[in-house]
């Protein structure tokens, strides 16, 4: 056993420790903080396991395009918005790129906005991709993958459909093939919106 000969000899140097911090209130506080943290993790876990956001208000974001144009999702109320996540290194994105552009040209004057979000990419390749497919709707980098995170995308391509009132009306994972996008847009355009 440990010998501590000096202990008994100098009682005056050892004042009785005060344990005020751990009064009953302090303990409840400690438990409260712990349980609060655990519930936070539980909530985060449920959220993380729920896949991409598919309903509710579409998470807002502002994106600056490679051409300098800027657009904020929440300022596009009254219009149908198609948010497409892509990357130049992603072969399935190439499959849908021409179809996306073609659909955009068809609907651009009918109250439909396309936003291309370039996910985990380098600018040079991205610009070459945009040029290759002659993409004319706004396309910008997802800086810090913030937008991808907000939509909880699993990869690219993923396309989110935003209704006129800013609510999400579903997501398509993987490349879009005709006429999926046309159908979805027609459906969303048919929704009533106050003032239209």
């Amino acid at each position: 056993m440990v010998e501590q000969p000096q202990l008994g000899a100098i009682p005056a140097l050892i004042p009785a420790p005060k344990r005020r911090w751990f009064s009953r209130g302090g303990r409840w506080l400690a438990y409260g903080v712990l349980i609060g943290l655990l519930s936070l993790f539980a909530w985060g876990l449920i959220k993380a396991n729920s896949g991409p956001v598919e309903s509710g208000m579409a998470p807002d974001f502002t994106i600056t395009g490679y051409d300098g144009r800027m657009v904020t999702l929440s300022q596009l109320r009254g219009q149908v918005v198609i948010v497409n996540f892509w990357a130049s290194w992603c072969p399935p994105c190439r499959e849908e790129a021409a179809y996306l552009e073609q659909t955009w040209r068809k609907y651009q004057d009918k109250g439909v906005v396309f936003i291309g979000v370039d996910w985990v990419d380098t600018e040079k390749e991205a610009l070459a991709y945009i040029k290759e497919f002659d993409i004319t709707y706004i396309n910008g980098p997802d800086v810090g993958t913030r937008i991808g995170e907000a939509y909880r995308i699993q990869g690219v391509p993923e396309t989110f459909f935003v209704a006129k009132n800013g609510e999400l009306r579903g997501v398509h994972i993987g490349p879009l093939k005709p006429p999926q996008l046309d159908q979805k847009i027609d459906e969303l355009l048919a929704e009533p919106y106050p003032g239209q």
Binding site: M1, V2, E3, Q4, P5, Q6, L7, I10, L13, I14, P15, P17, R19, F22, R27, A30, Y31, L34, I35, L37, L38, L40, F41, A42, W43, G44, L45, K47, A48, N49, P59, D60, W89, C90, P91, T122, K124, E125, A128, G144, T145, R146, E149, A150
Partner: protein
Amino acid sequence: MLADIGFFAVVIAFLLAAYATVVSAFGGWRNRPAWVESARNAALLVFPLLTVSVIVLVYALLTLDFSLAYVADVSSRAMSPFLRATALWGGQQGSILFWAWLMSGFVAAVLLRKWRRDRDLMPYVIAVSMLTTAFFIGLVVFITNPFARLWHVFGAEDVTAAVFQPANSMPYLPDDGKGLNPLLRHFGMIGHPPTTYVGFTGFVIPFAFAIAALITRKANEDEWIRTTRRWTLVAWIFLTIGLILGGRWAYDVLGWGGFWGWDPVENAMLMPWLTGTAFLHSVMMTEKRGMLKMWNIVLILLTYSLSLFGTFITRTGVIGSVHAFGKTAMGPAFLIFIAVTFLGSVALLFNRIKTLKAEHEVESFVSREAAFLLQNMLFLVIAVAVFWGTVFPLISEAVTGTKITVGPPFFRNVTGPMFLALLVLMGMAPLFAWRRQPVRNLFRAMIAPLVASLFITAVWGYTHRMHPGSIVGLWMVAFVASAMVYEFWKGVRARMQSRQENPLAALANLIGRNHRRYGGYIIHLGVIMIALAFVGDAYFKQETQGTTAIGERLTLGNYSLQFNGLRGYPGSDGREVVEASLTLFEGERRLGELSPRRDFFIVQQQPTTIPAVYSTLGEDVYVLLVGWDGDGRSSSTFKVYINPLINWAWIGAVVMVLGTLIAAWPGDQREASYVLKAGALQPQPATGG
């Protein structure tokens, strides 16, 4: 089938671990040595059983048994046998099995040691460590099983993975596997997971001892600390190596020119490291002065909980990260286990708080006790800040509905000054005496290193005038380094004078006689080298990006790079390589050839950027191939970084490992600390420790 043997070995190991948990706890509670002995034997069997299943899995990976879902996922024909073997921890299922295996190894090792003084701790050490091990084996058995096979169910589009054959199905055998994630094919990423896991799992030993000491009301005695000191040190150094290998991997593979990005996954590792480091220091206060007993317990509970928490957030995607781990079903189970561990240990601590009494109080602010206390506070505050920044996106989303990620600037600004304060404290700590000392003596002890560091800084400042911030940083590094060197020199000089030894023998004896103390100083020297790398990174980093035609040059600082051309060829492990050829010049002097690459992994459809680095002790020239025009005949784009002093980070790591080896070297140091404790009332010389 061999895989069945692996699976059943895991199942038996799970049953034995569960048995050991219950029986040892009961044996301890009712004081039945025979029960404890039985639990110990069961616990000892877990390790060989898991070894069998690990061997089976590695064999399956090597021989490409694609009927196993795990093998089809992480191994492939194009991979070399070495890479196939390391795929054991290339995916989640294998990682968890590997983790459980390491933990059972630690537990077996601790159970095989001699249990003399602390025999009454044993039942609860077994119970706690086996509970944790059983949990991880349980994950392997029930949730993320590496021995699950691929089946094709009639009528279904996809194949399913299951251990037992589902109804209406037939076995499915793919031609080839997907192979290891290309980003993970690097020595840093091959070494990073195992070292990290050893670090994380190793902390279960001090944790189990702390809980056992609390349960048996022996936490007030220092026995558990003495017993676990080396275990903690081993876990800690592995965690350190893991952190540094991870940094090295990021530097070599991720292609952003840095080695630390404050990503949640990195923070998850840093937090237990911070509290673990604080623990390693605070136990010295307990051993020498009988102080901070409750604090030690809190720190080890925190360290262990943060290890679990780190695994939880990295493996379940609760907090978004650039690290792509697959999402899994083990989240809820993990959360419940963490809740049990957190709440259980806190409740136990509150229940036993009265048994923990300090034998002394801090007597003066100018004492080693006060320095240790301040140091501990700093470590803890940094850990809290990192925790807050890491969890903040979750909190902000819960409260305001928008996810706000705090980036590297937050962590840099908040923790930077505290790390600097820690650094200075590290240099000053050896100069403080235990208990108290006149401030005058402290200053006297500080004069030599202070003068030396000011001299070094003046020379540096004169030659590098453009960065005022760096001068402060460098002064700190120089001060701590000179304080350390001075400390060694004082010891060597004393031996040379009193025993007429030559300097080398004096140094060897000095370290040999008190390897724990001088090993610690050597670790600190390693830390200083890493700090130097951070100073270089913070103040002297330069970068540029440019497109050059063949024959033209790209210039950065004193260096220029001449682009000679681009070539493509099929590489090993199923990749297409595009490699640029560059000649590096300093002024007009040719330094060598650099070949940055872009590898495209065909199966995974994933490109990786592999930098080319020209490396010296002073700085690295780090070049990335960013892109090229068409077929690359005309021009290519490069990103170039000058990363000064970065090699000191890796050298510092090696020095830290060396110091740890010295500090943990076997040899009975117990007497020395007893003497100090008994003699605590005698005035200590300023260098006493």
